[in-house]
Symmetry: C2
Subunit: 372 residues, 2 copies
């Protein structure tokens, strides 16, 4: 049966059916019971959990049980530095910050400049390293605790990653990466090996501390295939399988399923000016009608509107305020132009502050970088 | 056309036709003219060159021309530490020592404990690292200049190797390693990537010095496939193609084409006791006849004798002495038992001395190890 959407770590295409993805990947739904379990330790719940942006997981209950036994997990997520950071990239990082605030976790952040170099013909390693350092500023700007947070670039921390990676690699055949990622014989041998480098930080916390420590990886659902491989290898390495908490991909402003950093106007970058944001949001796909007259009469459709999704998942955490806006749209009392202006002001309010913190991050970068 | 022998970096099987191998691999024969060219700079020629143990090359004339222009090459060879060192393993190392004495080259020696771990199901990384350090002692015992010689283990020097390796890897597809090494879909992804790690030191000298330096790799002809890949990648990386000087594989004492470290008695290890050597040599395949009477009458056949090959390539460098022994055998004046005794005394004479130097090497190991 041909599928009408594709989700791999390097490509998201078509209309993603997130429920089907849970079935296909073999993950678990984030249930109300799980949310209550999390809430016991971290209250109030983060809006991205409450409203279902994080919707899938592996072994999240086990992670909480380990925490309850005093064996607290560490956090691991990362970024492939192909360019500047978008708001979509921030989603799992923001959740990590919230988790660290509540659970006091150690946090490892991997910058995979090797990946982006090997998977993109047009990029040099110098390009991707440059962006890695730019992306690191965005991580730091979110306010992580420097005493608990470790950011590293693959090529600069490879002496710790490689010995773990080759133990993973020994357990993974070409047939497996072909099946999991859709690789072909034309893939370069660096791209074929790469998944073992992304698996390594799932065990790094345990390796560095010399004991088995649970690992939780908040990440986009598109990254799950890497960690299926890591989980399969875990047993051979003698470590716990990493647990996962998956977010849906923040939709593109153009209406497609994932922000694409490479399609102009489809993404908001953390480095965007107010004007850039205006341009992107003003061109956004909405649930508006063909004319103002019709919209006043019939109302808009927030359920298909990309602007509304930004409110829902990130920018209007207050439930009453969100509900009001939803109804104002449905009833035709608010037009798309006005609504877009509101999103612009919320996004710019967030980014203006973020950009100040991002500049200050340059001075403390070395406090976060893991090198030795 | 099915081939009657197989030579890959991990397997040598059948009766190797070394001339065919030159054709198959596309290398050049070491000619008398080339030997004379080498002799202009390094006289007298090493017995392993004079007697054709080093019989094939790539770009060796160019290497000498570069030297003549004042752009002297560096040397690179290595060892996959699957166990203790055999006399066969020493062959390219001994040539490197002779080259370093004559050309004053920098010398990089790679210990590929990652390779032996990933290619051998039964070995742990701890096993192969242990043997890497044992093998390093054999390198040092040969008398290399510590100010010019750098030995490293892949996992310990990976921070310098990996950034080079991924640049190679980006240029090599699975189709290529399948064609070159005979890999299948069942190969693990570490073994598939590995060749780029072995390619890295071919450019390391240039990377570390920030300028393009010619590299000469003396090695067994079985390792040539790795460096075909390295040579193809060189242009993309902006470095010279590494040159090669290939030795035939020192034959097994059992008569087959390559010493196998895993078949007891087929190899002489540098750590062998006099008794071990006796056992191995006494069981050696020779060109002797079925009975002493017949041998006295018909004479032996040194051309097929594994004992004679040890004289030829390593243990009787004096031409007159070798010729005498050849004729004594042919004429039936010397029996195999006596001849084996002679080889035992020559090998033990060499190894007794080597083992003393090997023990002393433990104290100076750190002078040779490249870590930072």
């Amino acid at each position: 049966m041909p599928e009408d959407f594709i989700v791999t770590p390097w490509e998201v295409r078509g209309e993603v059916d997130y429920d089907k993805l849970i079935e296909k990947f073999g993950t678990q739904k984030v249930t109300d019971d799980l949310l209550k379990h999390i809430e016991k330790h971290a209250s109030p719940l983060h809006v991205m959990l409450r409203r279902g942006l994080f919707y899938s997981h592996r072994d999240m209950n086990w992670i909480l049980e380990q925490h309850e036994k005093g064996n607290t997990f560490y956090l691991y997520t990362g970024r492939g530095p192909s360019g500047h950071t978008t708001i979509g990239h921030l989603v799992p990082w923001i959740l990590c910050k919230w988790l660290q605030d509540n659970f006091k976790n150690k946090f490892y952040f991997q910058l995979t400049e090797d990946e982006k170099f090997m998977f993109d013909e047009s990029k040099t390693l110098e390009d991707t390293k440059k962006y890695a350092y730019e992306n690191a500023l965005d991580v730091i700007a979110l306010g992580f605790d420097p005493s608990l947070t470790n950011i590293f670039l693959d090529t600069e921390y490879i002496h710790h990653l490689y010995p773990i990676a080759i133990k993973v690699a020994k357990r993974v055949t070409f047939s497996t990466v072909r099946a999991v990622f859709g690789f072909t014989q034309s893939n370069n041998i660096g791209s074929i090996f790469y998944t073992s480098i992304q698996a390594a930080p799932a065990f790094l916390g345990s390796v560095l501390e010399g004991k088995n420590i649970p690992c939780l990886i908040p990440c986009g659902i598109d990254q799950d295939p890497h960690f299926r491989i890591a989980r399969d290898a875990a047993e051979h390495l003698g470590y716990y399988k990493p647990a996962l908490l998956h977010n849906k991909l923040l939709p593109s402003l153009t209406g497609s399923d994932k922000m694409s950093a490479s399609i102009p106007g489809s993404s908001i970058f953390t480095t965007d000016s107010e004007d850039d944001i205006k341009k992107s949001v003003q061109n956004a796909f909405t649930g508006g009608r063909v004319s103002i007259e019709e919209q006043k009469k019939l109302g808009g459709d927030p359920d298909i509107c990309s602007v509304y999704k930004y409110y829902l998942y990130l920018f209007i955490p207050d439930d009453k305020e969100l509900q009001d806006r939803y109804e104002e749209c449905r009833s035709g009392n608010i037009m798309c132009g006005e609504c877009k202006q509101h999103l612009i002001s919320l996004v710019w309010g967030f980014l203006k502050d973020h950009q100040e913190k991002r500049e200050k991050a340059r001075d403390v970068l070395e406090d976060f970088m893991l090198r030795d």
